[in-house]
Every structure is written in C-alpha cells, then in structure tokens.
C-alpha cells in the first residue's frame, strides 16, 4: 500500500553507502504463523522452513520461542531479524528477572514492547522485516496479539501472518468458538496448516505446535501432517472451470 508514492525518498540526504545499512529486502524467510485462544490458553503453529527466495534452504528453523514465563513468540519474515528480536527480548527478560521482585513481564507487556521496537525501526526507515505473533497467559488472563513490520498491532481471539491471513483466518472465523478444548484447538490449527501446506508455495510439511497455559509452555517435537493429493479437484482442476489451474 503506497499512499505517498510521489514523495521524495527520506534518505536522499545521505550517500549511497548508508543504504547498505538499511533493510531493503528479506533474504531468509519463514512463512505463516497461525494462533488461537482455547480453553486453557493459547495454541500456536508454524512450520520449520527457512526459504532463501524460492530455494528451501533450511528445514529445521524453530519459528516459535518461549519468552519469559508467560509468553510465546512466533515470527514470519526475515529469520535473522527474528534472531535479533530474540536477543532484544533476552535482555528485556534479564532485566525483568534482575529486579527479583516476584513480578514478571506478561504477554501484554512483551507485545507492547515489541510494537514499540517495530514502530521505531519503521520510523528510521530500517524495519525488522517480520510479522510477529505474541501469545500467553498470566493470572488466568489469556492474551493473543500480533504486530507487523511497520508497527500495526492488534489482539484478537485468533491471528495469523502472511498467507495465513488469506487462508487460515476465514476458517478460524467460521469454526473458532470460546472454550475450545485442547484437542479441538489442535485439530482446528492442523486444518489451517494443511490448507496452507496445499496452497502456500513456501510452506513445508514439518511443523511444530506450541501450547501455553498458566502452568507453562510446551513446544511439540516436529511432525508432519497427513496429506491427500487425490482430490478430483487436484487431479483435474479444469473440470469445473475450463482454463483454470
């Protein structure tokens, strides 16, 4: 979306050398993250692919990480920027722990911090090229939010990044309801991830589902989804609509 298309580039006062210091494009990228609130907390899913353009370069990238005691962070976009964000958060949690006052940063606070970081980098025209999903539970309160590379943020009962917004959100809008059981939540997430696997070129069939509740965090071992490629619509896509693919 470019609403200031004809403006003078902000960096025209600096020489070309300064450009090499700013993020211009992403290099190694992760695809969608999908997450939802369920009865006991948050469920989040992401595959383990790190693409280098159209090459599937890395196949064991953990794109969901626990943050402190109460949060999970999932990221899509540039993997090196995600690693940088994890370093920032390490420091944040360290200082929080050093207070040693029995209080700890909850998911709301971490989400706010991340929003400010992303927005400030956008202001300097040097964004962290990620879409982040932050979920967690603290004192019984479930929280699920997201923030984009330009600082747009919101919370909702279910969120997704990238292709997930196009393919997973509609499924979640139809089938999500309050107080999903753990099994139903996982089933719903797997349904979303399967659709993404079929239709997102950068998705791979190796994913992790993470769960966070008041008790703590679990990130599953990597596993794959069962797929079915014999749908008649896949075998003969032009049947109902000549010329389609």
């Amino acid at each position: 979306m470019n609403f200031m298309a004809s403006k003078q580039p902000e960096n025209s006062l600096l020489g070309p050398e300064a450009d090499s210091q700013r993020t211009l494009y992403p290099y190694v990228t992760g695809t969608s993250v999908v997450a939802l609130k369920y009865k006991d907390g948050i469920l989040m899913a992401a595959d383990m692919g790190g693409s280098y353009g159209s090459t599937l370069r890395y196949k064991s990238v953990e794109r969901i990480k626990p943050i402190g005691k109460h949060s999970l962070l999932g990221a899509s976009g540039e993997i090196s920027d995600f690693q940088e964000i994890l370093r920032y958060l390490d420091e944040l949690i360290l200082y929080d722990n050093m207070w040693d006052d029995g209080n700890s940063l909850g998911p709301k606070e971490v989400h706010n911090y991340l929003t400010r970081v992303m927005y400030n980098r956008r202001n300097k025209f040097n964004p962290l090229w990620n879409s982040l999903v932050l979920g967690g539970v603290k004192n019984g309160q479930k929280y699920l939010g997201t923030v984009s590379m330009i600082g747009v943020n919101f919370e909702d009962n279910h969120v997704a990044t990238g292709f997930g917004n196009h393919l997973a959100r509609p499924i979640l809008r139809q089938e999500w309801h309050e107080n999903l059981s753990y099994e139903d939540g996982v089933r719903l997430l797997e349904k979303c991830m399967r659709v993404l696997l079929y239709r997102d070129r950068s998705a791979i069939n190796k994913l992790q589902i993470a769960k966070i509740t008041e008790e703590g965090t679990t990130i599953s071992q990597p596993y794959s989804l069962k797929t079915y490629w014999e749908f008649s619509a896949f075998a003969n896509p032009a049947q109902g609509a000549v010329g389609t693919w």
Binding site: N2, P16, V152
Partner: protein, 223 residues
C-alpha cells in the same frame, strides 16, 4: 549503481470512519471497529476511540501504528500537564496540543485523521476536526476516515450549521437532544457500511456529558 529506492512503504491505511457531533450539553463521538489492510479484514473488534482527558475524547482513523503512537504521545503529555497544573486539560487545550503534535511531524506525518470531541470549560459540547498535519477547526459536527465522503453530506443535510463567517457569530452546536444525535450517528454508519468496504462490523459510540462518559455499541454489516 543506480540509487536504491525503498520497496516498502512506511504507511498503510487500516481504514474505518469516525464521526463526532456537538450538542448544547453533550458530545457524541463514534467510530466503527473494523481494522483492515488492503482487501483483508485484520480484526472486527478494534477501538479507534481514545479518552484523552476527563471530558475529552478522540477518534482517529488512518494508519493504526501512527494513531497508536499519537494517542500515547497525547496521553503522556496530558499526564505531565496534570502533574504541572494539578488539573485535567480542557477540550480546547487538548485541541491545540493535538494540532501542535501533528505539525511537529509535518515532514514525516502521522497518517491519522482525527476528530476530537468533548465539553468545553462551560460544559457545552465541542468538536474539533483535523487533517493529518494538524490544521484544525472548531465545528458543530465532523466526520473523518474512509466513509467520510459518504457521511459528511448526510450530516450537512441534517445538521448544517450557520456559516462561521456570518455576524453576529452563531452557535455551531446542534439543537438536537442527545438521544436524537445518537440515533443520527447509528443511521449514518448503517448507510456508510452499505457502500464503504472499510466501514462495518460494529460501531462504538461514546457520549460525553455532565454526568461523565458512557459507551454503547451497535452491530453493523460484517461484509
């Protein structure tokens, strides 16, 4: 090597519409709760309305990250004001602060289209309307955002105030009572959501009057 151009935009339009109507002893501020990007809906339940002071409420549409940053700035400045003056900021004072804050970023603007509503020092309703870089005006009613082109003509038809250029100076506030103004707001949003794809889901209506601030909601089309 040819000069690199940015291949991303620091701005986005997250859509939505805002309206405010000033009455003799009340002010109604309303906005829809849809947040979009391009042809996608990000969420159906996002509040665009922010209480800045006891009798001063702002509704903003545009680029959500800038709106959030602007709200935080104003809230922080209001806190400092309270510490320094031991009182709440009046609506006209907040109006000037908002204008100055927006103009401060004249050369990298907050992409935020605001209406400020509340009660002035005498308890009369007031509405201030802004562009993205801070030029503002006290008016009897206003609308901003993606549906404003659909809403403003309708409000003009129902509420048109006398011109502020006439002498003697006439009151801009509407003679409508609070309940009628709220009804008008609901009608106006129902119409706007028929034709503006970025307006819909729900309206959040905030009413400021002598008794305080209250909030109500109304469902809108979800398509």
């Amino acid at each position: 090597m040819a000069k690199q151009q940015a291949n991303w935009s620091p701005y986005d339009n997250n859509g939505g519409s805002c309206v405010a109507i000033a009455g003799a002893d009340y002010c109604v501020i309303a906005a829809d709760t849809r947040m979009s990007t391009g042809y996608n809906i990000l969420t159906r339940e996002y509040s665009k309305i922010c209480k800045l002071a006891d009798k001063c409420v702002m509704a903003s549409s545009g680029f959500q990250a800038d709106v959030k940053a602007l709200q935080k700035q104003l809230a922080a400045r209001h806190l400092i004001y309270q510490h320094q003056h031991n009182k709440q900021m009046s609506c006209p004072a907040m109006a000037q602060l908002l204008s100055n804050t927006l103009y401060y970023k004249r050369f990298f603007p907050y992409y935020s289209f605001n209406v400020l509503g509340g009660l002035d020092n005498e308890g009369k309703g007031c509405v201030f309307t802004y562009d993205a870089v801070g030029s503002y005006e006290k008016v009897g009613y206003s609308s901003q955002g993606s549906g404003s082109t659909l809403i403003t003509p309708f409000l003009d038809n129902q509420l048109k105030s006398p011109s502020p250029l006439l002498l003697p100076v006439q009151d801009a506030v509407t003679p409508l009572v609070e309940a009628e103004a709220i009804d008008l707001v609901k009608t106006v949003f129902a119409s706007a959501s028929e034709r503006d794809i970025y307006t819909g889901d729900k309206i959040e209506i905030v009413v400021v009057n002598a008794t305080g601030i209250r909030r109500e909601y109304m469902e809108l089309r979800k398509d």
